[in-house]
């Protein structure tokens, strides 16, 4: 039995966890968007348990008949492979979205969520220098069907943005393991 901390990669047809080669048969309701952090417990290439991780780092088990995390000694942190890209994308997205008005948030919600999913879906898993993420996002903006004036604002925001603090870039995912005896083990290379 092994536990992995990783990210979701999702499109309309399929969803899977980055670096973990197992099928996840969980309702879409729980798996909202690419880039969502997940804690997976698997055995013999099948899913035993799935935990969603809240903004505060709290764990919410949505799959599995028991809390297998009590029997786990180490959580293999696959998210550390992609954490710099994840933090960079998050930083740029938050910066771009800050240019929206309150009404635009709700009016274009569907398009913007789809845009966000495309960015995480296309950029999070690839081997890519974080310095190139900005230009990659610019390309996605130009190809997107977001309204023209919003596209312009997003591009302006990106052009003006400098790179983020190194500590923030390396900040790991928040996860609250109080009550469990397991430790997190960082993994620097991809598992084949």
């Amino acid at each position: 039995m092994k536990a992995y901390l990783t990210f979701l990669r999702k499109n309309e047809l399929e969803h899977h966890a980055l670096g973990v080669d197992i099928k996840i048969n969980v309702p879409d309701l729980y798996l909202r968007i690419s880039g969502q952090p997940l804690l997976i417990i698997s055995k013999d290439n099948s899913l035993l348990a799935l935990y969603l991780i809240s903004e505060d780092g709290d764990l919410n088990q949505v799959y599995g008949i028991e809390d297998y995390l009590f029997n786990i000694e180490f959580i293999h942190d696959l998210s550390s492979i992609n954490i710099k890209k994840f933090n960079t994308i998050k930083y740029f997205l938050l910066s771009m979205y800050s240019s929206l008005s309150l009404s635009e948030f709700s009016f274009y919600q569907k398009e913007l969520l789809s845009f966000e999913n495309i960015i995480f879906y296309n950029l999070l898993h690839v081997e890519l220098d974080v310095n190139k993420i900005k230009s990659m996002i610019m390309k996605i903006i130009n190809k997107s069907d977001i309204e023209q004036s919003i596209q312009q604002r997003f591009l302006e925001k990106l052009k003006r943005n400098n790179f983020i603090n190194r500590k923030i870039l390396r900040k790991k995912l928040d996860i609250n393991l109080s009550g469990y005896n397991c430790k997190i083990k960082a993994i620097e290379e991809k598992i084949s």
Partner: protein
């Protein structure tokens, strides 16, 4: 030695007597990610009205500067805590809570969460409900509490397990607007005066 162990050692070597309680409160504020959140310490039987009036006279920057200064007294960098993963924060938080309990069991630390974020639990209002406090103050916080609930309903802010960047950005924007009215001292001082006039 890792950062968490280093900070834990600094806490254990410098914060073992009652005079260092302030430093522990500041550490707790940072570990809970509430470094600019107004707070007060209530001792059993102490008048709450005067504590609230003091709370109203200080802005959010005061609390941030106060907490940062306290952390620097024991040579802890505020950034080292801000960038610390949640799991390690929890370890330090348990240590800080234990020390606070040992040093002062009859003092309660109350954060005015709602002043910095309308989506947090209104712990100050919950505390006021259970204690004797003047009607003006109670009504002021009752009104603020209901406004925050309306805000949640209007923008359909739900507690989703995973927030997309879009959800987060909307929350950040609303928090900024909120802090520009309910975070400022003007709101509390002006409203208390108006309420006094109406009552008289």
């Amino acid at each position: 030695m890792n950062v968490t162990q280093d900070i834990a050692n600094k806490i254990l070597s410098s914060c073992l007597d009652y005079s260092k309680l302030d430093i522990l409160f500041s550490l707790k504020a940072f570990l809970l990610n509430k470094s600019n959140c107004p707070f007060f310490v209530h001792k059993n039987g102490e008048n709450i009205d005067s504590l609230i009036v003091t709370l109203h006279s200080r802005d959010l920057n005061f609390y941030k500067a106060f907490n940062e200064k306290n952390l620097r007294k024991i040579k802890i960098s505020p950034n080292s805590i801000l960038c610390m993963p949640k799991n390690r924060c929890m370890v330090l938080l348990n240590l800080v809570d234990e020390l606070i309990n040992n040093l002062s069991a009859d003092e309660i630390l109350i954060f005015d969460n709602l002043r910095i974020n309308p989506f947090l639990e209104d712990s100050l209002f919950n505390f006021l409900k259970q204690n004797d406090v003047s009607e003006e103050i109670y009504n002021l916080y009752l009104r603020r509490n209901s406004i925050s609930k309306d805000l949640n309903k209007f923008f359909l802010i739900e507690n989703k397990v995973h927030e997309s960047c879009l959800d987060k950005a909307l929350k950040i924007k609303l928090i900024d607007y909120w802090k520009n009215s309910y975070g400022l001292i003007n709101f509390y001082n002006e409203n208390l005066l108006i309420e006094n006039l109406i009552l008289k």
